[in-house]
């Protein structure tokens, strides 16, 4: 049986820093897809995740509830991802395909192409909407889980997801 987050955190704080690897492995796999989907770039997502883990280690003494390390770490990771997205938007003029206006719209796009189109459309959402949409539809989390991780009320999260869906519908040519 794997040790709990709280047990690992306490061991690390007691000086056994190698134990931190268990937390890294656990939450790299648990939140990795979130980081990739929110940041939209593999290298940048990995950088954000690495930085988040190091920041979490540096601040571990301030983790008030070690048994809830995951939620605490997620907020650090979410901030890192938001910063990456914000930084990229400063310098990149993002374009999104308009399938309805594209000659290929009438042709059958394969799933990979469509998924790539969704990725481009996701980049047009606000960071909050993208984050909420990814957590809901890519990670498959409940609103309650999302609220727990983000520290935001379920009503506000629903609104973000609803708006994200509406925007994506518009960007993706009505999803016809």
């Amino acid at each position: 049986m794997e040790p709990s987050d709280g047990t690992i955190v306490r061991r690390v704080l007691d000086g056994d820093v190698e134990q931190y690897r268990f937390l890294v492995e656990r939450y790299r796999s648990r939140f990795g897809r979130y980081a990739l989907a929110v940041v939209g770039d593999r290298d940048a997502a990995q950088d954000a995740m690495q930085e988040a883990f190091i920041r979490a280690f540096d601040a571990l003494a301030s983790c008030r509830n070690p048994d809830r390390f995951g939620a605490w770490f997620f907020r650090i990771l979410a901030n890192q991802c938001r910063n990456v997205v914000a930084r990229r938007r400063d310098v990149v003029d993002l374009e999104v395909a308009d399938p309805a206006g594209d000659e290929r719209a009438d042709a059958a796009l394969d799933r990979s192409e469509l998924a790539a189109t969704l990725e481009a459309a996701l980049a047009r959402l606000t960071p909050e909407q993208r984050e909420a949409f990814v957590m809901k539809h890519v990670d498959g989390r409940s609103y309650e889980e999302m609220a727990e991780l983000l520290g935001v009320g379920t009503d506000a999260l629903k609104m973000r997801v609803y708006r994200a869906r509406d925007t994506l519908r518009e960007l993706l040519g009505g999803l016809r």
Binding site: V24, D90, S112
Partner: protein, 215 residues
């Protein structure tokens, strides 16, 4: 051509997996298509490389142990600079940072920033910074100046870094940066953000006695 139709409440509930009434066929098809797209997109995401673990652990080993919690002074003298996105001006590559220096109760003027007000025994100097090379004007509006856009203009420095130093009373204050007099930008590095009641966010800074600041 784009479809500007929004999903109706029933369709939104359907997408949430909640009970719903009868949906029009085209609405249901659009909802299913969006869900399928998201699913396909998620399936394409490869797991984060396990090499990340070793990179993190290498950094951890270099530290040797979890650092002792930093004192307020160490926090104050370190810079926190994070980009922000001013969405309405393409040329504006923005990054924000706040509170990198203060001089408790002292009369000495901080270097490189406009000194907006003199300190008194119940105030401390706090410096605000915003990196916004494309901005024409930047100011700080907050609870300490009546949220007036023009009350605390920042001065543009090298590399588009705008800064201002102000003596703030001890206590909790809320603020935003105001870019080009129209765009209110919360400080993403602030430890606390609160809703402004209008759908936006305000940053929070807490000025304590003896010059302790937390934002």
């Amino acid at each position: 051509m784009t479809d500007r139709r929004a999903f109706g409440p029933g369709t939104q509930r359907y997408l949430d997996g909640e009970p719903f009434g009868e949906l029009p066929a085209d609405e249901r098809a659009a909802a299913d298509r969006l869900a399928a797209l998201a699913s396909s997109y998620g399936a394409r995401l490869e797991p984060v490389d396990a090499a990340l673990d070793e990179a993190v652990m290498a950094a951890v080993r270099r530290r040797g142990a979890v650092p002792v919690r930093r004192g307020a002074w160490q926090w104050l003298v370190s810079s926190h600079r994070v980009p922000v996105r001013p969405v309405w001006v393409a040329a504006l590559a923005a990054a924000a940072a706040l509170v990198v220096w203060l001089a408790p109760r002292g009369p000495a003027a901080p270097r490189g920033a406009a000194l907006a007000a003199a300190a008194t025994p119940d105030t401390v100097f706090v410096r605000f910074e915003l990196v916004a090379p494309g901005a024409r004007t930047v100011s700080v509006a907050g609870s300490f100046n009546g949220w007036r856009v023009d009350a605390l203009p920042m001065v543009r420095g090298a590399a588009g870094i705008w800064s201002v130093t102000v003596a703030l009373p001890v206590g909790e204050h809320r603020y935003d940066f105001v870019v080009d007099r129209t765009r209110w930008v919360p400080d993403p590095t602030a430890h606390s953000q609160v809703g402004d009641g209008f759908g936006g966010m305000n940053s929070v800074i807490i000025v304590g006695p003896k010059g302790l600041v937390r934002s």
